[in-house]
Amino acid sequence: MGDTLWLEPEKLSEVKDILSSGDPEIRVVSGGTALSLIMKQGMFDPNKIVSLKKLQSELRYITSDKAGNVRIGSMTTLRDLEVDALIKEKAPVLSEALTHVANPRIRYVASIGGNLSHGDAHLDMPPILMAMGAEVKIESAKGDRWLDLKEFFKGYYETAIEPDEILTEIMIPKQAEGIVGTYIKYTTLSNDDWPTVGVAAFLKKTDGIAGDSRIVISAATDIPTQLFDVQHIIDGNQLDKTTIQKAAEKAFEVAEPLEDLRGSVWYKKEMVKVHVRKALEQLAKE
C-alpha cells in the first residue's frame, strides 16, 4: 500500500495513452466518492490513479443534438443533472430521482460516468437510463465504440469497460410522442439510503392501450434487469387492473433477487411485485 501514483492529465488523449497498457491496476477516478471508499476499506490498491479532474471542459456538459437526443459528458455531476433545465424537460424522471440520491454533498461531486462505471447494482441512474434506451460511448487509444446500456452491466460490480477504456458520453435518445415514465425507489433503511428495489417503467399510451413498454428492475438483482416477460403482458393491452395485476404477478415470478442486509429473496420478490404494480398504476393515471 502507498505506492499509488496520482496522475492528472489535461487531455482525454493523454488519459487514453496512459490506459493503453491495459493494466487493470490502473484506475480512472471522476468524483472519487465510490473509489475512495473502496480504497479506504483496503479492498483495492491501484498502482496508478488517473484523475479526470482536469477534463471538465471536455467531459462535463449536457446538450441536445439535432435529432433531439440528450448528450451528457461523463464528468457531469449528479447535481448538474438534477438542476439542469434540459434534463427537466427531456428526462424529468431522472431529475426527480436525483433529488433522492444520497445527499447534495455527494451529488455535487459524484459523476454520472462514475455512477455507471461503478457497476454497483444499488444505483438509481442505471435502471432509468436503461428504460429510456440510453447508450454509452466508450473510448480507448484503439478507437471508440457505442454500447446500449442493456449490454453494459455484466455482473456484480462488473461492466463492459475494459481496462484500457474510459466512458466519455451518455446518450439518451429522444423519447417518442406519448411516452410516459416513472421510477420508484423503495428503501428499507433510511429514506436516502441506496434502494432495496428500484423499478423504472416507461411505456407509450395510445387511446388507453399500452405499447413499447420498458420495465427495468434494479437493486434487488445483481444487475439492472429488463423484464421482457412482463412487457409482453403489458404491450397491446389496456392498462387496467387485470393487466397490471398479471404484470405484477409475472414480475414476482421472473425476478431473481439476491439476498442482502436489505432483505431476503422472498421479500425482495414481493417488493418487486408491489412496486411494479405501483409504477404501472401511476402510469395508468397519467
Partner: protein, 163 residues
Amino acid sequence: MKKQVNFILNGKSVSAEVAPHETLLDLLRNDFGLGGAKETCGLGLCGVCTIIVSGVPVSGCLHFASSIDGEEILTIEGMETEEGLHPVQEAFLNNKAFQCGYCTPGMILMAKKLLEENANPSVEEIKDYMAGNICRCASYGQIIEAINEASKLLQQEKAGLNA
C-alpha cells in the same frame, strides 16, 4: 508515492505532501490541526466532515487529498473574518441551534452553500438540502430556525451593500 499539493486553505496559500489513500479530512486534521470537521460515519452519510472545496461542500471523509491541488478550501475555522462571525454562525448562536455542537461545523458550512444557491428557502427546501447532515442531539427544529434567520441576515446584508 506522496504527491505535493498546493492549495489555498482558509485564505492562505499552503502546500502539503499527501499519500494516495489520504482523505482531505485526514490531511486537514493531522497536518493542519483543524479539528472542526470530524470523521464519524466515514461513508458520506452524516455530514460531520463537511468541507467546502472551491465553493462546493463535500464529504471530507470521501475526498481524495491528492485531488485538491489548485483548489480553495474553506473549513469552519475560516468562516470568521475580521468583521466577526459569519451571519450563518450568528444565526446558529442566536437560535441555540445545537446542544453538544458536534454536528455544527458541518451544518453551518452546508447552510452557507444552501443560502448561496437559494437565498430564501422554504422549510421543505431546507429539510431536503440538509438531509445528509445528521444531528444526534436532534436540534433540527432550531437548526431550521437558524437557517431561516441566516437567510434574513444575509438578505439584509446584501440590501445594505446595495443601498
